[in-house]
């Protein structure tokens, strides 16, 4: 059966919101939970030790816990925080950039890679496998055709590298040195007043024809439509995908998880999935089309 994971929280939520979210998530039918700040180094509601404590709690509840690293590393301070995660041996690490790869490999810490890692072919997976790679996420812009070929080639190589697919939520599409939330409020990035806290599911960026294009979330830009591969789960199971990643939202996440849990057990609902925060669905990437497209089965 496909496994379910909760990806790292991509938004900036208050400390209490984060604790409440995971206290609930401990009861949900997810196998793996990714913890840590992956977007902005200024988001420090939880310190590395808070994340580690949370990781231990969730592990005690029977969850497989992975510590996720920051995606855009820019400073020595970022590297120091990174080392805190990549120099422990209690938990698996999700490397989200090549700095994390280097530190994990140097410390002989087993790791997996997140969807922002540039993995497009089997040769790349083979190199990382030799260095301790335990599993990997498909980059969000790749689809089922490439994934299927990769899985077949890995099998031919005799490599057991479980594949995970970002399957529900707003797609993380870009990271910048610029903070778009601060820019919107006309604030300097270094003095942003933590405005992201006011936008627990980001800010909508629309075309001048009101088409939902992107979601601004600090230094990151996400898709304006919500990626939803619920109906593609049977496809994934057939081709040998290991884990289906659901990206946290602050409202109604439990219902999303339970819906996917049913689908992986073979109960495909007749109606479309829940729409929590208002946003159109998309699944184009999976079918090799523009990501924003919605391909009807």
């Amino acid at each position: 059966m496909l496994k379910l994971s909760l990806g790292p929280i991509l938004w900036f939520w208050s400390r209490q919101t984060v604790f409440d979210f995971y206290a609930n998530a401990a009861e949900w039918p997810v196998d793996t939970i990714y913890l840590g700040e992956v977007v902005c180094s200024r988001r420090r509601e939880l310190k590395p030790d808070d994340w580690l404590d949370l990781a231990r709690d969730l592990k005690a509840c029977g969850k497989n816990v992975v510590l996720s690293t920051l995606t855009l590393i820019e400073s020595e301070a970022d590297l120091r925080r990174l080392r805190r995660f990549c120099e422990q041996n209690e938990f698996l690490v999700e490397a989200n950039d090549q700095s994390a790869l280097q530190v994990a490999i140097r410390n002989k810490i087993p790791f997996v890679t997140g969807p922002s890692m540039n993995i497009y072919n089997t040769a790349t997976l083979k190199i990382l496998a030799k260095q301790g790679l335990q599993g990997w996420n498909l980059p969000v812009e790749l689809g089922k055709e490439t994934l299927e070929q990769l899985i077949i080639e890995l099998q031919q190589e005799g490599l057991d590298l479980p594949a995970e697919v970002f399957s529900w939520g707003f797609l993380p599409l870009a990271w910048s040195s610029r903070c778009f939330t601060a820019r919107h409020y006309n604030l300097p990035k270094d003095n942003c007043e933590f405005r992201c806290l006011q936008h627990p599911d980001g800010m909508e960026l629309r075309s001048r024809e009101s088409q939902e294009l992107f979601r601004i979330n600090g230094i990151s830009t996400l898709s304006g439509s919500r990626y939803d591969l619920m109906r593609e789960l049977p496809d994934m199971e057939r081709m040998g995908v290991n884990t289906v990643r659901l990206s946290p939202e602050h409202l109604g996440m439990e219902e999303v998880v339970r819906r996917f849990d049913k689908v992986r057990r073979g109960e495909l609902p007749a109606t479309d999935p829940l729409q929590l925060v208002e946003a159109p669905p998309c699944n184009g990437y999976w079918y090799g089309k523009p990501g924003m497209d919605l391909i009807k089965p």
């Binding site: 590393i73 610029r178 300097p188 270094d190 523009p290």
Partner: protein
């Protein structure tokens, strides 16, 4: 510091060399490089001619194979590395780990440069590429501030090349999927951002509209100059305000920073723009050559001549330039 100039065509390559480039970089006529444009880039015959021209005049030639091959493209991309090697290039600019590994094993004597598409933003990331693929040089992404470049340079295990002039990518390169979200092509997969095949211009009663795969990127009123609809440089609406929500159409220009870059031990400055005309390349290369010569003469201290800035501003998007992320205030 070495001046590295773009060559999208043989005339551009020759112009760059004639106007003082120490090195030029080019790509093949396909999606193995990050500037896939119709009518641009080199076949093997033209590349051989260009390499000979440059070598006779003491300039080096780098070949960019800096997109990411998927399984069905693996043989083609590997073939591009073989072609570059047999042409006798002075370095291959690579991003993909699989290809870096192939090049390092098959052609250990041809230097490997890490492309900006390799997304290395720290000295740890550079060490990863150095340890695994013995890269000689890395091109730093345009997202780092000068302070951050200083931090990277201090511990860097390899030579560093930084962007000096041209289009400004404000997203961490090699990890930006905005283009493939709106179209079906991205820099990583096809060497294209906001591809021309998806662009449509339309004169309407509200003004001139630029669209990318039907998405309205910008609309220009009377007297406004229109620019190419690179999707991150459009005007969008956020909470009722319409503005350049991601980035203005401006160019990066780091002339003012040259002394600092030199002090940091940066090995090379890179000019962006393989899609540009030979006339553009001539002006930019000459201006930067003058600046670098002035810097190296170092007699009365380095000053930026107004004439240089004027030339470069005239060649910039919207006539505007910025220090980009190098300058902390920009954020």
């Amino acid at each position: 510091m070495e001046l590295v100039c773009p060559a999208g065509s043989l005339p551009a390559l020759k112009t760059a060399v004639d106007n003082g480039a120490n090195a030029v970089y080019f790509g093949f006529k396909d999606s193995t490089n990050a500037r896939q444009f119709a009518g641009l880039n080199f076949n093997d015959k033209r590349a051989a001619e260009g390499i000979e021209y440059a070598h006779l005049r003491g300039a080096r030639v780098f070949c960019a194979i800096n997109t990411y091959p998927q399984p069905d493209g693996w043989e083609q991309w590997k073939g591009a590395v073989d072609r570059a090697a047999s042409l006798g290039v002075d370095a291959i600019i690579l991003a993909d780990m699989g290809l870096l590994d192939y090049a390092a094993n098959r052609y250990p004597n041809i230097p490997r440069h890490l492309s900006v598409q390799g997304s290395a933003t720290s000295h740890e990331a550079l060490s990863f590429y150095k340890d695994n693929f013995d890269i000689r040089r890395a091109v730093l992404p345009r997202v780092l501030s000068l302070d951050q470049v200083r931090g990277v340079a201090k511990h860097s295990p390899v030579e560093l090349e930084v962007f000096a002039f041209g289009s400004l990518c404000i997203m961490a390169e090699g990890r930006c999927y905005l283009s493939s979200y709106l179209t079906d092509e991205s820099p990583n997969t096809r060497g294209a951002c906001s591809p021309a095949k998806a662009v449509r211009w339309q004169e309407t009663s509200q003004g001139l509209e630029s669209r990318l795969n039907d998405v309205l990127i910008d609309r220009y009123g009377q007297g406004e100059s229109a620019g190419y609809p690179t999707l991150c440089k459009g005007r969008f609406e956020v909470e009722g305000h319409v503005y350049h929500a991601i980035e203005e159409p401006v160019s990066l220009n780091t002339l003012d920073l040259l002394p600092e870059l030199q002090a940091l031990g940066i090995s090379a400055v890179k000019i962006e723009g393989r899609q540009r005309s030979p006339a553009y390349i001539a002006d930019v290369a000459r201006t930067w050559r003058n600046a670098l010569d002035n810097l190296e003469a170092g007699t009365d201290g380095f000053t930026v001549e107004p004439q240089w800035q004027q030339t470069l501003a005239g060649l910039s998007e919207g006539g505007l330039t910025t220090l980009g992320a190098y300058h902390r205030k920009w954020k």
